[in-house]
């Protein structure tokens, strides 16, 4: 018990107790301190900025997840047979270590109206795009977050792939199965638990994309990349803590659901 005490105290003070207070606050008015039932929740769910942030976050997840998962799987499968797999894996992981702030200027350079990406587009005969102040900002955000997370996800896939016994696919090969057949009947079914874990973890990570958006586009980005954290920062500086507490509880609910899915997957793995 003495081992756990300091940690439990700190967690209680900085996480559990104040969260309980946020929960309580979500039913009260900040200024007067009166009980107001579900008024804050109704205010939040009819708030235009909140709905925009929810829509953008949902849209981001809907694009980011499938693209990341497919790309990282193909990459992992492709490099899993290579001799220098470990080196390649490490290089792909590097973006995770790069502080986002260090690349702000490079991103600007690449995506400014007269920048390199537009240069490539012009050479290909396409029209130039003003990336950071149009709906294309959304694409830049998805792209830069995939850049950041690709190596991480490839690493998780490779762990799953190396867990499949090679004797299984060897035996299938002896029986005359082709590459695609082995993929369909042996590799993919065996990777189901890995895929499940990767999906949930990537979903949770997609809530952390604010950093990229903020550093490239600042506190007031194009509306296509206006995220929940932008809104929270706004409410915070305007001291609208009642709205903030209701929205906190709502987001908490979504994350809680995702985490319990993840824990169920882990339990299943532990029993298998």
């Amino acid at each position: 018990m003495s081992f756990l005490l300091p940690s439990l105290l700190g967690t209680g003070i900085f996480s559990v107790l104040p969260f309980a207070d946020s929960l309580r606050r979500s039913f009260f008015r900040t200024v007067s301190g009166d009980f107001c039932g579900t008024e804050n929740y109704r205010a939040v769910f009819s708030n235009e900025a909140f709905l925009l942030a929810v829509k953008n976050t949902a849209l981001f997840t809907a694009v980011f997840l499938p693209v990341l998962i497919t790309l990282s799987f193909l990459t992992a499968y492709f490099i899993s047979g290579l001799k220098f797999m470990r080196v390649i894996r490490s290089v792909l992981l590097f973006p995770l270590a790069v502080p986002t702030a260090a690349l702000v200027l490079v991103w600007k350079l690449l995506f400014q109206p007269a920048g390199m990406v537009n240069g490539v587009l012009t050479v290909c005969g396409a029209d130039t795009v003003s990336f950071l102040d149009s709906g294309a900002a959304f694409g830049v955000l998805v792209g830069s977050y995939i850049w950041k997370n690709l190596g991480y996800t490839v690493l998780l896939w490779l762990t799953g792939i190396s867990g499949i016994s090679s004797s299984l696919s060897e035996a299938a090969k002896v029986d005359g199965a082709g590459r695609l057949q082995i993929m369909r009947h042996i590799i993919l079914p065996n990777l189901k638990p890995t895929m499940y874990t990767i999906t949930v973890i990537s979903f949770l990570n997609s809530f952390k994309v604010f950093r990229e958006a903020y550093l490239v586009a600042g506190a007031y980005p194009h509306r296509s990349i206006y995220l929940m954290q932008h809104l929270f920062n706004n409410w915070f500086s305007n001291f609208e803590l009642d709205k903030m507490s209701a929205a906190t509880v709502a987001v908490f609910g979504v994350i809680l659901a995702a985490v319990s899915l993840l824990q169920r997957a882990w339990d299943k793995e532990a029993r298998a």
């Binding site: 081992f3 756990l4 590097f94 702030a101 690349l103 200027l105 350079l109 390199m116 987001v251 809680l256």
Partner: protein
């Protein structure tokens, strides 16, 4: 045939690696260019629509680094401030998380499982959810706008507990049992057996923790007003000056992270796997 496939496979993989690394290579390249050459990268030359940077510095120069490292005391302060914050958090995390992870892995406490599930839940919460809670407490303790506002909540992060717990669990119980028979106390067992045998997990927590701290944006943005206390990751985008010095500052910011990434490579990969997949 098989050899040919390996060669072409490696060629394609090398290309992918190059693409992935290209933003960083571009940063390094630009940070060595002089102001004349840099202006081409940012503003199109007269009569042209596009600004294309040179792919290699025509006249490599250290002027940008000189400007930021020698002539700008501010940058120097912010850099050490960031390192100080990272060091304080890491030390605090170890002091708190190592015993806690030991407690979770080795004691038969009631509600142990439920408590651990709670830690996992907290570990996975994005800052949006924890922001208000942290603010309520920091405000009550009068810590807003101090370094402690970003250090203290990070010290009690659940993440290092989780990673270190995983490595403690793999220590066989028999080893501890024999130490107990020899009369060692529980704290002694942790210090003499637990920490050495779980060092891989502890290092993984340090490496992952440092990379995350070195990149922090949300916490200082919310809890710190005084720009003198900003860490590099937030100070950098505030620099108004364009051109050379800010590129050099970015490159210098990259160095500690790249250094930790390279020396902590194996630990980092083991830590990521341990944090996502249950063995």
């Amino acid at each position: 045939m098989k050899k040919l496939r390996q060669i072409s496979g490696h060629g394609a993989a090398a290309l992918l690696c190059l693409i992935i690394c290209s933003p960083v290579l571009m940063l390094v390249n630009l940070s060595f260019q002089d102001s004349l050459e840099l202006s081409k990268a940012f503003v199109p030359p007269t009569g042209q629509d596009l600004a294309m940077p040179d792919m290699l510095p025509l006249f490599p120069t250290l002027d940008n680094f000189g400007e930021i490292l020698l002539e700008s005391p501010q940058f120097y302060k912010v850099f050490w401030n960031s390192l100080g914050i990272a060091a304080a958090v890491t030390a605090g995390q170890l002091i708190i998380a190592v015993p806690a992870a030991w407690g979770f892995s080795r004691t038969k406490l009631r509600f142990r499982r439920q408590l651990f599930d709670l830690y996992v839940l907290l570990m996975l919460m994005p800052f949006q959810v924890t922001m208000l809670s942290q603010y309520i407490m920091l405000d009550k303790l009068g810590l807003m706008d101090t370094r402690a506002a970003i250090i203290l909540p990070a010290v009690f992060s659940a993440f290092p507990v989780f990673i270190i717990y995983r490595s403690f669990c793999s220590i066989p119980e028999e080893v501890l049992e024999s130490a107990r028979i020899d009369g060692a106390g529980e704290w002694q067992i942790l210090l003499r057996i637990g920490i050495p045998m779980g060092s891989a997990g502890i290092m993984a927590a340090v490496v992952l923790g440092f990379l995350d701290l070195w990149n922090m944006v949300e916490q200082p943005l919310a809890f710190i007003r005084d720009r003198k206390l900003y860490p590099l990751s937030l100070y950098l985008p505030m620099l108004d000056r364009t051109g050379g010095s800010i590129l050099a500052a970015s490159a210098v910011t990259l160095i500690p992270a790249a250094f930790v990434f390279v020396i902590g490579q194996d630990k980092l990969e083991a830590g990521i796997i341990a944090s996502a997949v249950k063995e």
